[in-house]
């Protein structure tokens, strides 16, 4: 080493760092058996199990598996975003990964880009798996025409809101274990009161009102509009799918989540 060091103030292009982080996050997720089983396989087991056991006729020729497609995809998206983010970011904060990253010139945006890519990949994989099982095992009917568009925007908006919410929960939790213990029951309860496992009109009215505050209900409702015939819109609280309200509420949750993330996000456990 005889050459003089140049001023090492240059930084690599952002795009390359984003690409690195996306690769890191995908490997971290898909190589961990527990997270793959919990997030990807669990909804499939739900679909196979509940689809075989439960047998309501919802009218308009809709059986339970057809109804449950919207619900189980909601559960899959919530698992890939809300639960995944809350538990794993809390873990990365507790074990020092986040603090260590903070001491490098990696821009904060790259960390979040990596997480977004991870959520997208896991959510898409979950949805594809569920559609395959739904069609092959339960013979459910796939969406048609513009329903695919609705499917896409509702899923993306719902996943975005739940991802941001998950990041906020990860920060409120004291550590990874408490994040898991907090977010798992929260997600389950939200799914129950949002009509994921049972028809939404069987949820008591006051619980429907509680559910309407949170994004999971609107994600599930938007997805029901995709998988159910319009005749069943009459069984929704407003007597219609309310897609405008779905977009509005999910959008508001995205904005609120982003603000809360910016205000609360920490790269290390609390001081002292």
């Amino acid at each position: 080493m005889t050459t003089a060091a140049p001023e090492r103030t240059a930084l690599p292009p952002l795009g390359r760092v984003y690409l690195t982080r996306a690769g890191v996050e995908l490997k971290e997720f898909f190589r961990q058996r527990e997270s793959v089983v919990f997030t990807l396989v669990f909804p499939v087991i739900l679909l196979l199990g509940l689809g075989a056991v439960l047998d309501y006729d919802l009218g308009a020729g809709v059986d339970f598996p057809q109804y449950f497609m919207a619900g189980v995809i909601t559960a899959g998206i919530v698992g890939a975003s809300l639960q995944n983010m809350a538990i794993h970011i809390a873990g990365e904060r507790s074990d020092g990964t986040l603090k260590s990253l903070r001491g490098t010139p990696m821009p904060a945006s790259a960390y979040f880009v990596g997480k977004v890519v991870q959520v997208l990949a896991v959510a898409v994989a979950t949805i594809v798996l569920l559609l395959l099982v739904g069609v092959l095992v339960h013979g459910i009917g796939l969406p048609s025409g513009t329903d695919w568009m609705t499917f896409a925007w509702v899923s993306v908006l719902g996943a975005a809101a739940c991802t941001l919410l998950g990041i906020v929960v990860s920060t409120l939790a004291r550590n990874a274990r408490s994040a898991s213990a907090t977010v798992t029951p929260i997600a389950l309860v939200l799914q129950f009161v949002s009509g994921v496992f049972i028809p939404f009109d069987q949820v008591p009215g006051w619980l429907q009102d509680v559910a309407a505050v949170f994004p999971v209900k609107w994600l599930a409702q938007g997805l029901r509009s995709v998988f159910l015939p319009d005749a069943l819109a009459a069984r929704e609280p407003a007597g219609s799918w309310e897609l405008g309200t779905v977009a509005l509420v999910l959008g508001v949750w995205c904005v609120a989540g982003l603000v809360l993330c910016a205000l609360t996000f920490r790269w290390q456990d609390r001081e002292g």
Binding site: M1, T3, A10, T20, R21, G96, K99, S100, T104, Q268
Partner: protein, 346 residues
């Protein structure tokens, strides 16, 4: 700006044989900055009156410190003395409550990505339970820097080449620590922070780690090291600072800390079947006189100076052993005492 590969002038002669005579003054003056001195623009790290409080308690209470470029500086101190807090303020992790700080010429509270690109940070809690392989982790880390080291070269340097394909979570404690160091240096830092880097190492791993630190020093890297191990500070550091209750008790080259170089020597020997000890400022003359009283070898002769541990414990106000050195030097075994006496007599 120090050219890479060039060493800043070392304050003392370094080598396996450090000459210490009973009459020599400390080799280098303490040259600590005084409160009110201006920040040193050429220093790698410069602080004046640094204060960090947790509630009412000042964890760091008015720290004045300059660390030269190319230097290895060891920060010693008991738990709770403020070592980690100080380092975390310098690294930009914590906001200070008072004083001035410059790290590589930049205020850490305002250090951006370009500033961070010049630092390497090895934290106490290292790389987490990763599913990535050791090489993947290093390659990813390297991509955040404009001029990183080659990951495979870094693996070689820290002795993890054989584990390149192993996942992070499968590494042993010592291997994990070496991975932490690898992650800290892959960005080719000009300044490396090492917070208790060898905790949990076995003696052999520690020796290997020391060799690694010395090779990094030869590449021109400035290092701030915190450690519990006094032998580590003595083996590696150009200068040692002892932190007690949030303040620097002393800054000196390891051989001169606490007046070690000029402290009275303790001469011990056996005479008439009893162990005798004497404290003397002129051990050479004393031993010469002693030699005249015996026909051959002086039985069980040792000449000892206070060890770094002795002066350190005295400095932080724990079990000051003072004159007790005499007794303990004998008890600690002939080997160690003999080593010291050789140093004195040479």
């Amino acid at each position: 700006m120090i050219a890479r590969g060039e060493r800043a002038p070392s304050p003392i002669h370094r080598g396996d044989c450090v000459l210490v005579t009973s009459t020599s003054a400390p080799v280098v003056a303490d040259n600590r900055p005084q409160p009110g001195d201006p920040l040193d623009p050429d220093a790698a790290i410069s602080t004046r009156g640094l204060v960090k409080r947790y509630g009412d308690r000042a964890a760091v209470d008015g720290l004045d410190l300059d660390i030269r470029r190319g230097e290895i500086f060891a920060l010693l101190g008991p738990n709770g003395a403020g070592k980690t807090t100080t380092v975390e303020v310098l690294e930009g992790y914590r906001k200070r409550d008072g004083g001035e700080v410059r790290v590589l010429g930049v205020d850490p509270a305002r250090g951006g990505r370009r500033w961070k690109a010049q630092l390497g940070i090895v934290l106490q809690s290292g790389a987490g339970d990763s599913q990535l392989s050791v090489r993947e982790l290093l390659t990813a880390r390297a991509s955040y820097y404009a001029e990183p080291r080659d990951p495979d070269e870094v693996l070689e340097l820290v002795g993890l080449t054989e584990k390149a394909g192993a996942r992070g979570r499968t590494l042993s404690g010592g291997q994990r620590r070496r991975l932490d160091v690898a992650l800290g240096i892959v960005g080719r830092p000009r300044l490396l922070f090492l917070d208790e880097p060898t905790t949990g190492f076995d003696p052999e791993a520690r020796r290997q780690f020391w060799a690694l630190i010395r090779s990094l020093r030869d590449l021109g890297t400035t290092m701030l090291l915190t450690t519990h191990y006094l032998d580590e500070a003595e083996a590696l550091a150009d200068r040692v600072g002892v932190l007690a209750r949030g303040q620097l008790a002393e800054v000196a080259v390891p051989t001169a800390l606490g007046g070690r170089g000029t402290a009275p020597a303790v001469v011990s020997w056996t005479e008439d079947g009893a162990r005798r000890t004497a404290e003397t400022a002129t051990p050479t003359a004393f031993v010469r006189e002693l030699a005249g009283r015996f026909p051959g070898e002086v039985p069980d002769l040792t000449v000892a100076r206070p060890t770094l541990e002795d002066v350190y414990l005295k400095m932080i106000g724990q079990s000051p052993r003072g004159v007790g050195i005499a007794a303990s030097a004998g008890e600690r075994g002939a080997e160690r005492a003999a080593e010291r006496s050789e140093g004195v007599q040479s």
